[in-house]
C-alpha cells in the first residue's frame, strides 16, 4: 500500500509529521510506502524528500486554482498512491479532491487549531472524503459527516 500525506508547510506539516509517526508505530511488517507533499521546497521527512506543491489560498484567482488542480493531477499520476491523507489546508484539500476523482481512498484530518468549528477546507472535505476527522470530540457530536478518532498530540 502506498500512502501520500500532504499538508501546507508550517503547523499543518508539523501535525502531518506527528500523524505519520503515529501511523508508523502501528504498522507491523506490512508493506506500506509513504510519500509526502508540502508547499515549501527542500523539505525532508525521515530522509525522504517531500514533493513540492504550489501554495494557494481562498483569495487566489481561478487561473491559479486551475494550475493547482493540474499540479494535483500530475502529482497523483506520478506517485500513484492508494490512499491520500491530508492535515490541511486548501492545497491539501485540492489534492484530496483530485485523488477522490481518481478513485483513491481519501482521509481528511482537520487541524487541531480548529476548536470551535471545522476549517473552511474541512467543511468542504466532509462532503467527499471517505473519512473526515476532527481532532476535537465535541465537533463530531452534531455532524454525521465528521468523526473523532483522536489527536496528533
Amino acid at each position: 500500500m502506498k500512502i501520500l500525506m500532504v499538508a501546507s508547510f508550517g503547523g499543518h506539516f508539523i501535525q502531518l509529521k506527528r500523524l505519520h509517526q503515529q501511523i508508523r508505530e502501528r504498522i507491523e511488517g506490512e508493506e506500506v510506502m509513504f510519500e509526502f507533499a508540502t508547499t515549501a521546497e527542500n523539505v525532508a521527512l525521515n530522509n525522504d524528500k517531500a514533493h513540492n506543491f504550489p501554495n494557494v489560498h481562498r483569495g487566489s484567482g481561478w487561473g491559479v486554482m486551475i494550475v493547482v488542480f493540474k499540479r494535483a493531477y500530475k502529482l497523483l499520476k506520478l506517485i500513484k498512491p492508494d490512499v491520500v491523507i491530508s492535515t490541511g489546508a486548501l492545497p491539501g484539500l485540492i489534492v484530496c479532491l483530485m485523488a477522490k476523482l481518481l478513485g483513491k481512498k481519501v482521509i481528511w484530518v482537520d487541524s487541531m487549531a480548529n476548536y470551535q468549528k471545522l476549517s473552511f477546507s474541512g467543511h468542504v472535505a466532509k462532503y467527499f472524503c471517505n473519512i473526515c476527522l476532527t481532532q476535537w470530540e465535541h465537533l463530531a457530536e452534531n455532524d454525521d459527516r465528521v468523526v473523532y478518532w483522536g489527536k496528533v498530540l
Binding site: E30, A113, N114
Partner: protein, 168 residues
Amino acid sequence: MIFITVGTQLPFDRLINLFTEWQEYSRYGGDVIAQVGEGSHFTSSRIKVVDSLSSDQYYHWFSRADGVVSHAGMGSILSCLDYSKRGVFLPREYALGEHRNDHQLDTVNAFERQYETLYFCTDKESFFNAMNVLVENIGVEVQPMVPKNESELGKNIAAYLGLGGRLP
C-alpha cells in the same frame, strides 16, 4: 536567547512591536532572533530579524531558545511541547487584519491553562506578565510532555486502512 516566530503566512508586527516595548521596559539583555514574515518592515538594532526560515533553520533556533514568543499557531504550540520550551503566545485577530478568520482565538480557548509552560495573552498587560514569567524561569528545566493518548489517531487510521491489525 529568545526566539520569536510569526509562522509561514502573513506578518504579525503587533506581536513584534509589543515584544520591543517589553524589551525596552524590562531591559532584557539577551539575544533575540525574530522571524517576522515576508512583507514585514520591522527592523531593530537589538533583534536579529529574518523574514522566513527553512525547517532546519527553524528547529536550529527553536532548540537553542531559552523561550519562544509566537502567534497562536499550532506549529509553535506543538514545537514548544516537543522541545520542552516555555512559550508566550498572542493570537492573530481577524478584526485587525492579521488572519483570514479568528481560529487562533479558538486555539487559545483550547490550549489555555492546559500546560503550565505555555502562556496565552490577548493584551499588553498579560503579554508583559507572561514575558516576565518566561524570563524569570530561564534556566528552570521544563519537564518533557507526557503523551495523553497512546497514538489513538494513528491507531484508528491504521485499523481503518487494514494495517497493524494483526494482534496476537
